[in-house]
């Protein structure tokens, strides 16, 4: 019973993206917990943790399949998995191929990890509850654990890849603050379960007017297109105060590709400006938490190593080895998007950003049949002169206020389409 984060994405295209995600049987967490309880009481012999797996696996045929690989003569796991092996050995334990693993990039350098951890949870933080998604082998997790203890009260680690779990599970054995859950940070269901299973029971809800000082979401952003979707979807939860935002204005910190950051922060003057920029800027304020130079060159800090470009080409920016940055996003107190207007924002953004270099005047007609009439909504005489939208501005250069005006006009227009979801869907059968 899980559905991917792609909620909106899945609405707009017929691509099914959930193939990357795995199903979590309802009871796996309970079982894991039960096992862990038992384990806690046992002597802390790390090898015993091995036993968790067979049980967990028997619960679900769909947990990652690593056994097959191991049979083919893979290196057996080291006894000490509390500490990460030297980087040179990582390739033995953390494969970089396969659909679930190809897009994963992780901090590898412990010193950098410490820097990043400190920047995400700086001095002055107290009793934080960290939810960390996509930890990978856990360099950042370890760094978080090593921060002064008073800063962090609990770390919930969401990771469902076997290879990584091997080196994450030992952590919860040595530190009661750490909870490793074999779940995928990409699924709505994961967060639903967090709540249902009571992991967040002790988190204080703070009023929207102030920032939530406790709960904090941290993640490595996967390199593939899902990563960008993840951040886009999470940002969209802010206006309606859903997801973790029901606990208040929870900050989110990401290790992400530079180009994702460029898209998020793109101003109206930048070519990279896109839907994500508008949404991010409408719902949040954000900053880089450490100077980007500290994460350069890529190969000194991250795993897996970058692929040497044979020739450079702009389209290749999603290649492994392009720079990463660390940044934090905090929801704004004043949300310009009303909670029930999100669909309309999405609709207008999607329809108009197709024509991103076209002046609003010419583009607005593409919104819906007859939408040219919206021009008068935006510029007619009864609109105060200072509020009139500049119709000559090209779509890319519209700022958040402009967008609010467009969406508002769209909302008032009686002929606005109702089915904002299906309007651009293509039927499955694409034959005539």
């Amino acid at each position: 019973m899980s559905s991917p984060f792609l909620l909106r994405r899945a609405f707009s295209t017929s691509i099914r993206c959930s193939y990357r995600t795995k199903k979590i049987p309802e009871d796996i967490i309970t079982n894991t917990l039960a096992t862990q309880e038992r384990k806690r009481r046992l002597p802390k012999n790390i090898q015993d943790i091995e036993e968790i797996k067979p049980q967990a696996e028997s619960q679900s045929a769909l947990t990652p399949k690593v056994d097959r690989r191991r049979k083919r003569g893979e290196v057996s796991l080291p006894d000490n998995r509390l500490d990460l092996p030297p980087l040179s050995k990582w390739i033995d334990y953390f494969p970089t191929t396969g659909i679930a693993l190809k897009g994963r990039i992780s901090l590898a350098n412990p010193e950098t990890a410490a820097l990043v951890a400190d920047s995400f949870v700086p001095n002055g933080s107290r009793d934080k509850v960290i939810i960390e998604a996509y930890p990978g082998p856990g360099a950042l997790t370890r760094a978080l654990m090593q921060l002064p203890k008073e800063r962090i009260r609990k770390i919930i680690v969401l990771e469902d890849t076997e290879h990584y779990l091997n080196f994450l599970n030992p952590l919860q054995e040595v530190d009661p603050r750490v909870q490793v859950l074999p779940m995928n940070g990409f699924l709505w269901d994961t967060y639903h379960q967090l709540e249902v299973q009571g992991f967040l029971d002790d988190v204080e809800t703070t009023p929207w007017s102030q920032s939530n000082p406790y709960l904090h979401f941290i993640s490595h952003l996967p390199m593939d297109v899902l990563g960008e979707q993840l951040i886009a979807q999470l940002l969209r939860c802010a206006p309606a105060q859903s997801w973790l935002f029901k606990y208040g204005r929870v900050p989110m910190s990401y290790l992400m590709h530079e180009w994702v950051w460029d898209r998020i922060s793109a101003s109206t003057e930048v070519l990279a400006r896109c839907k994500l920029s508008v949404i991010a800027q409408a719902v949040s304020e954000f900053n880089l938490s450490i100077v980007p130079q500290l994460l350069l060159p890529y190969d000194d800090h991250f795993y897996p190593a970058g692929i040497k470009p044979t020739y450079s080409s702009k389209a290749e920016n999603r290649r492994r080895g392009t720079p990463f940055v660390a940044g934090t996003l905090r929801p704004l107190e004043h949300q310009i998007i009303q909670s029930d207007m999100l669909d309309k924002w999405d609709y207008c953004l999607r329809k108009l950003f197709v024509l991103k270099s076209t002046p609003l005047k010419n583009a607005i007609g593409h919104l819906a049949p007859g939408a040219d009439v919206l021009k008068s909504y935006l510029t007619s005489d009864d609109v105060p002169a200072e509020q009139r939208t500049d119709m000559m501005r090209i779509i890319r250069k519209l700022d958040v206020e402009d967008w609010a005006a467009v969406v508002h006009a769209f909302d008032r227009w009686p002929f606005a389409p109702e089915d904002l979801l299906v309007t651009d869907s293509f039927s499955r059968d694409e034959r005539i």
Partner: protein, 1335 residues
Amino acid sequence: MLPRSAQKLEMTLVSYSRQRLPRPARLYSTPSKTVNAPVTAFAQVPLPHPDYPPILAQRELPVDESSHLFAMQGFLKRRTPYTILPTPLPDDRVSSLNSFYFTDSPTQDQLAVMDACLHNLYDVPRAKQVFQQLRASKSGESLLESRIYNSFLEAYIDMAYTKEPEDRTLWVEDAYQLYDTMEKGIEKVHPTSSTYAIMLQAWRRFNPESETPVHLSNMPNPTTLLSNLMDREISPTNVVADRVFSSSEEASDIIKLLSKAAVELNFPHVLAELGQAESLGSHVPDPLEDVPEVNPVTRLNTPSEETLDESGNVIPVQTQGEVPFNLSNLRKHLAQVTLARRVLPEDLASRQKLLEESVYDVAVERLRHEAKVFDDLGLGGRELQRADLQKWMWDWHQKLKTRLEAEIKEIIAAEAKIASNKTVPRMGPFLSLVKPEKLSLITILEIMRLQGSGGVTDGMKTARALLTVGRAVENEYKAEMCKRNNIAIPSHARPGEFTGYFTGLGYRDLHARRVTAAKYMEDSEEWTSEWTQLLRVRVGSILVDCLMDTATIERTAVDKRTNEEIKEHQPAFYHAYEYVRGQKLGVIRLNPVVSERIAKDGVRETLHPRHLPMLVKPKPWLSYDQGGYLYNRSAAMRFKDCQEQQTYLDHASALGNVELVYAGLDVLGSTPWKVNRKIFDVVLKVWNSGERLCKVPPAAYDQPEPEKPQNMNDIKAKSVYGTRLKAYMQDRANNHSDRCSVNYKIEIARAFLGDTMYLPHNLDFRGRAYPIPPHFNHIGDDLSRGLLMFAEAQPLGERGLRWLKIHLANLYGFDKGNFDERVKFVMDHLEDVYDSAENPLDGRRWWTKADDPWQCLATCMELHEALESGDPHAFMSYLPVHQDGTCNGLQHYAALGGDVKGAAQVNLSVTDRPSDVYTYVASMVEQLIEEDLKKGDKYAIMLAGRVSRKVVKQTVMTTVYGVTYIGAREQIEKQLKDRKDLPEEECWGASAYLAKKVLSCIGDLFSGAKAIQTWLNLCARLISKSIPADRVPDALQAPSRKKRNGSALTRNRIRKEQMSSVVWTTPLGLPIVQPYRKTKRKQVMTAIQSVFISDPNAPAEVNAVKQASAFPPNFIHSLDATHMMLTALECRTQGLTFASVHDSYWTHASSIDKMSEIIRDTFIALHSSDVLGKLATEFRTRYASHKVPLASLRIGKLLKNLEGAGVRIVTSSEQAAALHEDGCTSFDNIMDVSDVEAGSIAQISTSPEDSKTTEISQKVKVPKPKRGRPFKNAAMIQGEIASLADEAGEDGAGDEDTDSPLSNKFVDLSAVLPPLPKKGDFDVETIKKSQYFFS
């Protein structure tokens, strides 16, 4: 002029022409034979042929069946004649041979410009300019035929006569020069009868004694012309009857001129012939004579009824006695003689002609009429609401027409200012071909018709819309040209001395007749040129842009805040962009109110006759683009944006290789159908009630919207809701488009109620036949099939009654029992059958639970009526009864491989009970699920007990056609969704789970098929990697060096030269060309958006993966298509009515036994002809000169697969050593080193002079293959690239390492083609006794 004797002579000749169908020999010869022979002798030739009277000749001859089969088997075993064309060149290379076969787009464009400029003398000087360029450049040499020269002659003469009389002398002089060029044969173009007709016309107009004299010294006079045409053995009668002459008066004058000249030259026979022609023209032929099977049309109830009377298509009244000379009479006579078949009687064809020719006029009339009615009723009346659509369309039409008139004027004015020497595309000429009024209507109708196409809800892809509108204009122009000359339409008629399709004599006869008819059609039609895609898009974009700009509708809505009703004028069509799979795609959408109307209002107006069934038998297929509809061009094959396919088919027709394919299409097209009135009434009732019943979708979507979760902040609940909502919306949209499509069907059925109709057929590129009318045909869904029945009835008989029952059981879904059980099933349910027939809607509705409910209902009614008729055996039954192949793809595989196990699974071998692969697989899957169930797997729990035969059927069926995991998952997902018993959001996961299980179950089930599949796949892979030998030197050249960043520079252009697609010939002689090439689209800026279109005239290198993976399924399809065609022909020979849906063959219930026998006989004949062996031989012949680069063999698993398939390459030790030296050991496994039989090494150097010599002198001597093991021989060619020897740019990025030392080594394609898989012991003759082979 010619007294008595001529009269007598005429009588003889007439009777000769009508009753005596000439024998093939006469057809081979040109008509000029008659000229040389004395006329009297010709007229008095005794009729030595012991012919059947004409009436009998139309009927089937008593044919001995066994000799028939024998002929077919002989035919199939003969060496199939191949159609071999050169491999297309890469786009950066040209050769005259290549442009001879494959015209490039710029040249094609120039032709179209000439055509458009000549039309109505639009801009003859410009046409002349282009013409001269083309003649000078030689690029269009192969295309410039006599017809084009004639068009110019005609245009020059007309210019002189009508448009520019002041420059008369100049124009006439131009004409004479051109004529002179033709007469002297300077440009390989020679005069035809038209040429002389035009020149005679010129003389008639401009001779010194005429009113408009032109004084030129070199003007050829009739005497010169006559003597020239006699030298060319052209018949003066043909000249007189040429289409150039538009009136009888002109023709009569010409006869006089020629007679005078004949007297001067002392040609008495010419004189006599002309006299004869004149008297022929004075005789009215009786078209209804000896037409026993045709009843004159008594009712005229097409929608065009109103205009039919007014437009008054006057059929010449037959009068006795003195008739003045009438040109059209003469033409009819000649047509009958030349065509050697009866011409379609005028009055029979007239309705179809009217339907086709006046479509746009009729539509305008209807709209005008209705608009008037609405106006009379006053605005706001209720009636108005009902038919918004028509009113809107009339409105749009009015506005668009005016707009287009202005727009086109503007364009022409603007283009007039462009200097004539600039080659800017000019649209004026093309937009002037068809009147603005028609342009406007074409645009509206086409756009309305396209809605919902291409998977776009309520809209269409822009590129397709523009292309379609452009093509519609092109078609309309050609149709106008076509009907302008009132060409006689040849009809279907069996030649008199029909000896069967498969005998040598019969075949040659077919060929001769078709060629003559095709030539006749070509001669009597004006020359028009094909348009390029680019031109179509340009024309389409101007029209569509204007439409979107002018067409508006009024829409009302309520303001949410003020509750006021607001009216707004909105565009009826609007343009939007969508992202589909990351690609930006432009679409044109309908305003929601318009699209809503399409599901309700009459849509008949939006349909062009080329989308409707025909009222007469389709025109026989005469060439690749002649046949089917009378006036509207349709292609015999649906080319997939691929000029190569068209060229192959064209040449195959010219060579006479595909007569039986055309004949087969004619057979399929001539099956008469009618609408099943009883079913129609029920359907209409259901439709009008708006309820949902058996695939008739409800008027308002009736499923409940998914429930909104209470707490929208619960993201998980929200996302589940989202998935369900999306599915709901999708279903609702589908419901709408289903409603639209059913609306079309009902409208068409209504229009044809009471008529006999015909479905013209054409082929897809694999040779499978499809009816051309897309909306309503027997290949359509259950509803369409239920609505159709044969127009002719046959008495049931005892066996027929039994088959009717079996048919009913099959339709109900009870098709797994043996025949007796199926009959028993029906008898057990007889009460239900009666109830269904008597009270289809108010009874128990037993029929609605059938697999195919509407066909089931039709059968219930037929059975009920038969049983109630008192004498069921004498009951006249119209219903088609089906015989379906059980997993036909596998049947062919099993027969090809002689696979005993496979044959048993698909009912090729003799059994008491039908075997059913689908059930077998389904139960296997259930077993697997059972195991998972024990493990507590979520999906196993969900799916246990739900895996029915139906769920897996499509996947099993398509496995043999190479379905992928993704494809299988989608098929299964669809099935699971249809079951409706799984939650929407789980279907996807469940289908993924199930697809894996199904595929693993199928795994080794079809191992027999697997070996053949692999063989086919490997052959295709090798072919698509190969390069013709003469391209090899060029392929080793370095590409021009402008690669960006200086990296990835390849040393040769081998990949660019891999242009060979897989081509093969079906046993019927049809060449099949796989169209898969790299997509190369060109961006075209239009007023609406920039669209990307591919240019079929500019082939890119082949897509090897697609060529290989698609070949096995395509090959099997070409086989099942052949089987179907053979069956169709044989059914025709034996007098059975026949229709088919690929592997489902239909005939009357009483003929099933007969047809079953035919099906088996044809299948056996087909598979006794060593199909695979012949394919292998063909590949060796067709690709005899092709070489495969060794580097291409090393990709992926190809080498390993080749090894597995038993390929051995023989090399000399030198060659082997050379390979090893270069560090290449990958070929060791398939290499036999032998100096005894190995080929020698040839050197290919890239310097042009010595390359030839060395190549030839050291030409590889392919050793004589030992019998039975022809694959062991190889030759490798090693080329040394001197010029690039020092190049060291290593780059390993590509999968195909073109820079390795292997890059200059080639092996003969024929040497690496794998040996055929070993054939099993299954004997196809067994099928004769298999009951359930087709059942």
